[in-house]
């Protein structure tokens, strides 16, 4: 028994405090969780569309909303342009909104997040696509099946692709002329590429680096892995998808298609992966290539346009960027990625994903359809900041002002090399990307560090892929 100096009155008082606290806690616990949507005026009944802030211009967004409103006056739309430095940052901010209880109805999602969203948050579009098949036939006829397949997950379609970018090779024509070299041939090889870098290096001073690349999932090491006939994760196709291919694509185009990509067993220690890393490490040692640095490659436009870099991998999005940086249409050009063992290229695509938390799913589907229309995309993608998913939009007039001369390559990459595929982005994409970037940094520190770093990458990838996300 505890001896206490507390008086009975004090005990009663403490008891009353305790009871009061318990009552308060009970009352608080019995309340529904307050979310951002409970803020008065926050939920005005609009269909909320989240886009990557930098993906569309404000004028483009205004046009997008006005056009939809004219078509569907009964559906209010609010575009939430989320500012983010890259897709990973964008997804993080969308998830924050979901955690806050203010989930949008539609989210603009790139390849990097297609399977993550499909698995956790997305609604398959199959039933609406089947229902509106007649209306969509024209869309699918205009869009390459590889892009559509990259938006499928386990047999279902989750997004209609509206833009994509394949990693082709941009060349600064002034640097080419300085080196006394011509634009490489369409079927140039990895050895041709290396020889060109050496010529460029020889013709310039010590502050010049022939090849620049950014350490990221799209356009980093992955295009070299694809060119060497391998991938970071074993790639296969999910069964299913026949409902879509049979309905919209001719036999020649649907051959070999499935229900979306599956990326499973890590293969960082595969001989061809190591070979690709050895090649890049060799370029770095020879001073032909920059050391891999993380980020979104923002400083690249500056160094490329001023001739401090001769070659870099980029997609159609760069034509507009270089034009804005003051490069003339003939100051740069584009070629396919060089052949190694294969000519397989990598790409990333994007479109709107419908979230299962949405209470306006039919209205959201109308917006998805609207966003994929030819007139909508023509208005939206007027400045060559990306490659439109519709083949018919790539015409000479579009590139007359910005260049490059060989603009056809942007879409022909898909047609000329039908095995071209999306960057590996399983639902565990965040961890896979982090593992790839961090070990790529150490692997390319010196040729001797390639093997040990890839073995660590393999171990970390295995752990990441075992995790049920």
């Amino acid at each position: 028994m505890t001896d206490s100096h507390h008086s009975r009155r004090a005990l009663l008082r403490y008891g009353a405090y305790g009871a009061g606290a318990a009552a308060l806690a009970g009352t608080a616990a019995s309340w529904d969780r307050l979310t951002g949507a409970d803020i008065p005026g926050r939920d005005d009944g609009s269909l909320v569309v989240a886009t990557l802030g930098s993906a569309f211009s404000p004028a483009g967004i205004r046009t997008l909303v006005a056009g939809f409103r004219a078509l569907h006056p009964g559906i209010k739309v609010r575009v939430n342009a989320v500012q983010a430095v890259d897709w990973s940052d964008f997804f993080a901010k969308i998830l924050t909104q979901i955690a806050a209880g203010t989930a949008p109805d539609l989210v603009y999602v790139a390849t990097e997040g297609v399977q993550l969203f499909a698995r956790h948050l997305g609604v398959p579009l199959d039933r609406w696509v089947r229902r509106d098949a007649a209306e969509l036939r024209e869309y699918f006829a205009d869009v390459h099946p590889s892009l559509v397949e990259s938006m499928m997950y386990e047999g279902s379609l989750y997004q209609l692709p509206i833009e994509f970018n394949a990693a082709d090779m941009y060349l600064n024509t002034r640097v080419l002329h300085q080196a006394g070299a011509d634009l490489p041939a369409d079927d140039w090889t990895r050895d041709d590429f290396t020889a060109l870098l050496r010529r460029m290096k020889k013709a310039n001073d010590s502050h010049f680096t022939p090849y620049f690349w950014t350490n990221r999932l799209w356009g980093g090491v992955v295009p070299w892995l694809f060119a060497n006939g391998t991938n970071l994760l074993a790639e296969s196709r999910a069964p299913g998808g026949g409902w879509l291919w049979d309905c919209f694509y001719p036999a020649a185009q649907r051959r070999g298609r499935g229900g979306g990509f599956r990326w499973t067993t890590p293969q960082a220690t595969n001989g061809r992966v190591e070979e690709a890393y050895d090649y890049l490490a060799g370029l770095i040692q020879e001073g032909l290539c920059t050391r891999p640095e993380g980020g979104n490659g923002q400083n690249l436009i500056g160094v490329f346009s001023t001739g401090r870099v001769g070659v870099t991998p980029a997609g159609g999005f760069w034509a507009g960027g270089l034009h804005l940086a003051g490069m003339r249409d003939d100051a740069f050009d584009v070629r396919y990625f060089p052949r190694w063992r294969t000519r397989r290229h990598q790409f990333g695509a994007a479109g709107y994903a419908l979230l299962r938390t949405s209470k306006k799913q039919d209205a959201a589907w109308e917006f998805i359809k609207y966003s994929a229309r030819l007139d909508t995309l023509t208005e939206l993608f007027s400045t060559n900041q990306t490659t439109p998913a519709r083949r018919s939009m790539l015409a000479a007039g579009r590139y007359r002002e910005t260049g490059p001369a060989h603009w056809r390559i942007f879409y022909d990459t898909l047609d000329a090399f039908p095995d071209t595929g999306p960057v590996p982005a399983p639902p565990q994409v965040a961890e896979v990307t982090q593992v790839l970037l961090k070990h790529t940094g150490t692997a390319l520190a010196s040729p001797r560090s390639v093997g040990p770093a890839l073995r660590r990458m393999q171990g970390d990838l295995e752990k990441a892929m075992e995790r049920d996300v």
């Binding site: 001896d3 502050h207 920059t290 050391r291 961090k438 996300v469």
Partner: protein
């Protein structure tokens, strides 16, 4: 079995009756006024600090991916983070960063404060004070973006400048040692202004007569600073180091923007891991567990500092 009873020191009957002072209406009014003035601050601390801390501790016991309802995990998140090599490396990196960054920050700030405390025109002193403080008001992310350009190995101005005197390009951001050093340099450049202002204030509070007396006794230069200035400045040093260490243990923007934690994990810090686990990997429970461990670390380091301060800090 331990007897937990509290022995009665004195029989209750022997205790002189204590009569509580009668609470006057004026006293009650003063207390009410004090409570009113304190209420906004206390409310802010409770809502934005206490509740989130409790929330983090609770969340660290759950698996939660934002999308599905949380599931109780017990200590599983803590087991996971204690076996996660990235988490352990991030704690090591953060401690290394803290030691070098805080030491450099205090050294730079103190040296500059002592220099400015010497003979110098008033207007020039003001210019320097403003210049040293200015980086602190800038956004750390913006500074880091600019510094990333400056420290780029191939195209950065820093390597161009050192190249003028024949030094080969330094892999500032692409080697393990270089990346950590660059993050520390950028952090110290931005942060030392705060310590600098504290030291300037502290130096101004040291009575001039003490310096004059020391000068009469023949103490000059470094000897004077070590024997006189530093002991008298020790309370300010304590504040500057406590604030510096707490801030350094929470470093995020500089390594996130400059190196993204690389190369490898060489500049990945604890707060970066919290961010990545929560918002990139959707493991909010594990992120909270790391957050709780960081909280404990900060409390422990601060407690040690205050303990040590009893021996090394001299109040006038």
């Amino acid at each position: 079995m331990t007897d937990t009873r509290i022995p009665a020191v004195r029989p209750r009957a022997a205790t002189p009756p204590v009569t509580a002072p009668r609470r006057s209406a004026r006293g009650r009014g003063a207390r009410l006024l004090a409570a009113l003035f304190l209420a906004p601050t206390v409310t802010g601390i409770v809502v934005f600090t206490v509740v989130p801390i409790i929330g983090s501790v609770v969340l660290s016991l759950f698996h939660w991916d934002v999308i599905d309802p949380p599931g109780f995990a017990g200590a599983a998140n803590y087991r996971e983070v204690f076996t996660d090599s990235t988490v352990l490396v991030s704690f090591r990196n953060t401690l290394v960063f803290m030691v070098f960054a805080v030491a450099a920050q205090l050294l730079v700030a103190l040296s500059l404060a002592l220099t400015l405390n010497g003979r110098m025109p008033g207007w020039l002193r003001s210019v320097f004070r403003s210049a040293f403080f200015f980086p602190l008001v800038l956004s750390a992310a913006s500074i880091s973006v600019v510094m990333k350009y400056l420290f780029n190995q191939d195209f950065g101005v820093v390597n161009w400048l050192i190249g003028l005197v024949g030094i080969a390009p330094v892999p500032w951001l692409t080697s393990e040692l270089g990346a950590m050093a660059t993050v520390i340099i950028v952090y110290v450049w931005q942060q030392f202004g705060f310590s600098f202002l504290l030291f300037v204030g502290g130096l101004n509070n040291i009575p001039r007569e003490i310096h004059e007396a020391a000068a009469l006794d023949g103490a000059t230069g470094l000897r004077k600073h070590l024997a006189l200035t530093l002991p008298l400045l020790s309370p300010t040093l304590l504040v500057a180091s406590v604030v510096g260490i707490i801030n350094a243990l929470q470093v995020f923007e500089q390594p996130y923007v400059l190196t993204d934690g690389g190369p490898g994990d060489s500049t990945r810090t604890v707060v970066m891991v919290i961010y990545e686990k929560a918002f990139e990997q959707l493991r909010f429970g594990e992120a909270s567990a790391v957050g709780v461990l960081l909280f404990v670390l900060i409390m422990a380091v601060t407690a040690v500092q205050f303990r040590l301060s009893r021996r090394f800090v001299h109040y006038q």
